[in-house]
């Protein structure tokens, strides 16, 4: 009770008086927590929707049988002959594009075997054209039974008739055909993507599973339901981890500000602390008093942050979902769900950050001797004496960061990289006081020459308020460093991808089925297109590429087959240093050899000469790795075989893309027009390589849009912090500022002085931030990215962009000083001097 009253009178009352500063601190915490909550909620919603909507249609299966490249439907009969009470349901699964509405899952299921969809079709509907539509999709498209609907399946538009609308849970938008109709529509006669197994509860499940395994060829995979969703979640782990870590930046920047707020609070109340201690308050009581202040900021800020985060999540879920679709797997955003667990996590995050950041100042408050009400001067004098100690600690943390950066990933997560980044931030924060003094000393003469007495006073005052100045500089530096490091990383990545696209996309024209492309989807091209295109005058060579989703040791990767002799002759595929491109590509045709992408090689620890056991159709084929090539389109990785090898094991695998090389001198436009004319009956896209590049870069930029947004929030938090801290500096130096007015300083001079201080803090923050950012960018590029995604990014800092961003941040810091400058200029000198 006593503590609560003390908290009320000693802490809350002054905070109420100082509403603006209290509000800025609360806003900083709220923004930090909001970003964390928003990224978590949006990430969950964008990636948590892998559960196949088929489950809502046919209920839960017990086992799923799949095979890379699909399986023969005759296995249904053989499995059904097993002496168990089990049902085996054939499934085909693809994406169907509805022009103007988007792509939706299309399932081919046995409509006779299950109760839903209904076995009996309405009269007059052709069974091969009978389409079942889920209720939410039917409602969205205003479809009713017997309505016609044109779907783009692979490269062919086909028209179906709605046979029935299937009841389904909200947002489950999908289409269903009978499996035979689906095989016909997809030109996949006798082929299945999956067999779902339902085992009677009276059977011994283990025995049934064993019998099925015994019957099936070794290349077939038997998975428990949900395995696919888990694979997808695993595949997205690195992506979500990185987003999550980025979302913590604002909270880290906010931590500096809470530290600063509590430190200011302690400095201002030293006299009161001394009196309280003299009157019998315990050390622990004083300690908890200040932690109470921080926790109050943490809790209130977090609650506001959770609400704001829920709001922000709605606006970014689409962006994350589009990245997931482009880079990982097809998914639809699920509704955002903010439950008690998420609220608790947000509040705990904010409170924990508040607690940790206030710990040191609260400890300092506890140690104030009862007889001593120390002046700020003495406190700052100690801070000045301690800068060397800070520098030593900074060196120690930097050494630890270096050691952590060399650690191997833990369960695929670059924990060492993240730890190194945190340690580097800590090192920079501890080195900040030394830097403030150094820069101050170096610029002292110039500042006085350039800005007169205002320059002299601003520089001195910042050095004199070292503990405060260094915290605000460190907070700003952290935000700037994050911006710079992510800027350097993204800029380098972008440049690397641009160079890679240049080597990868060497053909003049590319053909693929029309419709949206999403990761893990390989819509088929009609086999007859290749000779049609090859016969067009001006075409020199056509590379036929077959892509398919592929399960390798439980990981979802991509398997490709192309005419590698054409790639060798026309392409510029780049292999890891020391590997002979020509010899590698020559060694593949007709052989059980493959090349793998760098991410695949890193993820699976594969080097040239390694043997991979590839489940292809029913067989498990031993394939030798001939080389490792640079690739940036999929962090899951690629295995590429020569087309002849792929077709040897998967003879019915359809092509998915054609790469067309023109004769020298051929007119690209007229050849393209001629190809488009000859393939007019098919829904295909004939695109020049520039269009592919532009599309790839658009996906790249969209992917990193959220990163930039997170950066922006961190910078805003840092700006709020700069305004807050400058205001604290002004309020703390009221006496000095008032005295200056007595000595003849004009109000504009005082204003200029505070703005100069803001500029100086901005300069320090930028300088330290840039140095720290360079270190963090190296960690991001060579540790975090390499361990998370497996690819090598070349170091290409975007100098122009960085310079502009730093200038902007610096300008914003000066702007953040406008209000404190106004407050300083409007102080009533006689009132202040009289008070003091």
């Amino acid at each position: 009770m006593t503590s609560a009253r003390l908290l009320g009178s000693l802490i809350l009352r002054p905070l109420r008086r100082d509403r603006l500063r209290s509000g800025l601190t609360l806003l900083s915490v709220a923004l930090g927590v909001a970003v964390v909550v928003a990224i978590d909620l949006a990430g969950e919603a964008a990636t948590g929707s892998f559960r196949s909507s088929l489950r809502t249609l046919v209920g839960s299966t017990d086992l799923e049988i799949t095979a890379n490249g699909g399986m023969d439907e005759t296995w249904i009969a053989r499995l059904a002959a097993l002496p168990f009470n089990a049902r085996f349901a054939p499934v085909l699964e693809t994406q169907a594009e509805i022009p103007g509405a988007g792509a939706f899952p299309l399932y081919g299921v046995d409509t006779l075997a299950g109760a839903r969809p209904p076995a009996a079709l309405p009269a007059g509907i052709d069974p091969d054209r009978a389409l079942f539509v889920s209720q939410p999709l039917a409602a969205r498209l205003s479809l009713h039974p017997s309505a016609s609907l044109t779907l783009l399946l692979n490269d062919r538009p086909q028209t179906f008739q709605v046979a029935a609308v299937l009841p389904a849970e909200a947002e489950a938008e999908y289409l269903v055909l009978d499996v035979a109709a689906a095989q016909k529509a997809l030109n996949a006669y006798g082929k299945l993507d999956r067999i779902d197994v339902y085992v009677s509860p009276r059977e011994d499940f283990a025995r049934v599973e064993q019998a099925i395994r015994g019957l099936l060829p070794p290349g077939y995979l038997i998975e428990r339901p949900g395995a696919r969703s888990q694979e997808n979640q695993r595949m997205l782990r690195a992506f979500r981890w990185n987003l999550r870590v980025l979302s913590y930046i604002s909270l880290v920047v906010g931590a500096f500000l809470i530290y600063n707020t509590i430190a200011v609070s302690v400095v201002r109340r030293r006299a009161e602390i001394g009196i309280l201690r003299a009157l019998g308050a315990t050390r622990a009581g004083v300690f908890w008093l200040f932690l109470g202040e921080a926790l109050m900021f943490g809790l209130l800020g977090s609650l506001a942050g959770v609400a704001l985060g829920r709001f922000l999540a709605s606006s970014i879920v689409g962006l994350i979902a589009s990245t997931v679709n482009s880079l990982y797997a097809s998914s639809r955003p699920a509704p955002i769900s903010l439950g008690p667990a998420e609220i608790l996590a947000g509040v705990v995050a904010g409170a924990l950050v508040a607690f940790l950041s206030a710990f040191a100042p609260a400890l300092e408050a506890m140690r104030v001797p009862p007889t001593e009400a120390m002046s700020r001067g003495a406190h700052e004098h100690h801070a000045r004496l301690h800068w060397r100690r800070g520098l030593l600690w900074a060196a120690l943390l930097a050494a630890l960061a270096l050691a952590a950066s060399r650690a191997r990933p833990v369960a695929g997560n670059p924990l060492g990289g993240y730890t190194a980044a945190l340690l580097a931030i800590g090192a920079a924060a501890l080195a900040a006081p030394a830097l403030v003094l150094l820069v101050n000393r170096l610029t002292r003469a110039a500042a006085r020459r350039l800005f007169g007495p205002e320059g002299l006073l601003a520089g001195r005052s910042l050095a004199a308020s070292l503990s405060r100045t260094s915290v605000v500089a460190a907070a700003l530096a952290t935000a700037v460093a994050m911006m710079a490091s992510v800027g350097i990383m993204v800029g380098s990545f972008r440049e690397t991808v641009l160079v890679w696209l240049d080597t990868q996309l060497r053909a003049d024209l590319y053909l693929r089925p029309a419709g949206r492309t999403t990761a893990g989807q390989f819509p088929a091209l009609s086999a007859e297109l290749q000779p049609v295109v090859a016969a067009v005058p001006g075409v020199e060579a056509v590379d036929v590429f077959h892509g398919l989703e592929f399960l390798y040791q439980g990981d979802r990767v991509a398997l490709g087959g192309g005419i590698l002799e054409i790639v060798r002759r026309y392409g510029r595929l780049r292999f890891l240093p020391g590997e002979d491109r020509d010899a590698i590509l020559r060694s593949l045709p007709g052989q059980d050899r493959c090349i793998v992408s760098e991410p695949f090689a890193n993820r699976h620890g594969v080097r040239p000469g390694a043997r991979l056991a590839l489940p292809l159709g029913g067989r498990v084929v031993p394939v030798t790795v001939a080389g490792v090539y640079y690739e940036y389109s999929s962090s899951q990785g690629y295995i590429v075989l020569d087309r002849s090898t792929l077709l040897k094991y998967l003879p019915r695998q359809p092509p998915t893309n054609l790469a067309v090389y023109l004769r020298p001198g051929a007119d690209r436009r007229s050849v393209r027009r001629e190809i488009e004319r000859r393939v007019a009956g098919y829904r295909v896209v004939v695109a020049p390589n520039q269009a592919l590049r532009q599309n790839a870069m658009a996906i790249f930029d969209r992917t990193f849009a959220i990163t930039w947004a997170l950066e922006g929030v961190a910078i805003i938090v840092a700006m709020l912090g700069a305004a807050n801290s400058l205001l604290a500096l002004v309020l703390d130096r009221r006496r000095e500022l008032a005295l200056l007015r007595y000595l003849g300083a004009s109000a504009p001079q005082v204003r200029r002085m505070v703005l100069l201080e803001a500029g100086f803090v901005g300069l320090l923050g930028n300088t330290l931030g840039l140095a720290l950012g360079a270190v963090l960018s190296l960690l991001l590029i060579f540790v975090v990215n390499k361990q998370s995604f497996g690819w090598t990014i070349q170091f290409h800092p975007p100098v122009g962009l960085l310079s502009a961003a730093l200038l902007l941040v610096w300008g914003a810091t000066v702007l953040a000083g406008l209000y404190p400058a106004r407050v300083a200029a409007r102080l009533n000198p006689s009132e202040v001097i009289h008070e003091e």
């Binding site: 007169g452 007495p453 006073l457 001195r460 007015r741 007595y742 000595l743 003849g744």
Partner: protein, 245 residues
């Protein structure tokens, strides 16, 4: 020693002539502060002429209105009624920029607690008023004043390295660096031992006698009051007595 023309700013501004005898006059000055629901009148119709070249001491108990009167005389505050005239011109008729110019060129302040800027060296503290006024020869003038107060050798040290008496001498050097016509001193010896206090008082007397400043000094000390040509005793915001020596 410094000459009266040194480091002085432009000879004329805003109608004030530095060649005429400086004069500070208070005419029926009252000051009221908004209190807690009830206004608090601190000064009641004070009229006073502060002569140039002499020390005028304000005496009285704490809370009698001495500091308020000093603030009004130093143009740091405005009276609620009546006028504070410097060379016949009311301070309340000046805008903020004019008041700043007035302080820069005509008024010096000395405080009980020295009020030196802890981050500046002694020399920088002393030259600060001239730097703020963008006056030339600031360094030389500051060194000259430091020499005058006997602290030239302390020019490069920071204030916390000085004794209280030394700090107050630095404060006097700073108050006089721009050769002001009016020196406002608020309990200048209130925080000093007797020996240091005597040194400070000697300097204040010199500022008036040798350099012609009109010195208005609030004090509780009998020694300080003894150097004054005019002693004004205040009681509850009113002049209780005037005594000339």
């Amino acid at each position: 020693m410094f000459s009266s023309g040194e480091a002085r700013c432009a000879p004329r501004y805003n109608g004030y002539s530095l060649t005429t005898s400086p004069r500070l006059e208070l005419r029926r000055v009252s000051k009221t502060y908004p209190g807690n629901g009830q206004p608090l009148q601190v000064l009641h119709e004070i009229s006073l002429e502060v002569p140039a070249g002499a020390v005028t001491a304000l005496l009285g108990r704490s809370g009698c209105g001495k500091t308020t009167l000093l603030n009004l005389a130093g143009a740091m505050d405005f009276p609620s009624s009546g006028e504070v005239l410097i060379d016949g011109r009311a301070t309340s008729s000046l805008n903020d920029a004019d008041l700043t110019l007035l302080r820069r060129r005509r008024i010096g302040f000395v405080f009980q607690f020295f009020q030196l800027l802890p981050t500046l060296t002694v020399l920088e503290n002393v030259e600060l008023p001239l730097l703020l006024a963008a006056a030339r020869g600031a360094r030389e003038a500051a060194l000259d004043r430091l020499r005058w107060v006997g602290l030239e050798e302390k020019a490069a040290v920071l204030p916390y390295q000085l004794s209280g008496g030394q700090m107050q001498r630095v404060a006097i050097a700073r108050a006089l660096v721009h050769s002001p016509d009016i020196l406002i001193a608020d309990e200048p010896t209130g925080n000093l031992d007797t020996a240091s206090g005597d040194q400070v008082l000697a300097l204040i007397r010199q500022a008036a006698a040798r350099f012609g400043a009109a010195v208005l000094m609030a004090t509780h000390s009998a020694e300080a009051a003894a150097i004054a040509a005019l002693r004004v005793r205040l009681r509850d915001g009113r002049i209780e007595s005037l005594e000339r020596s």
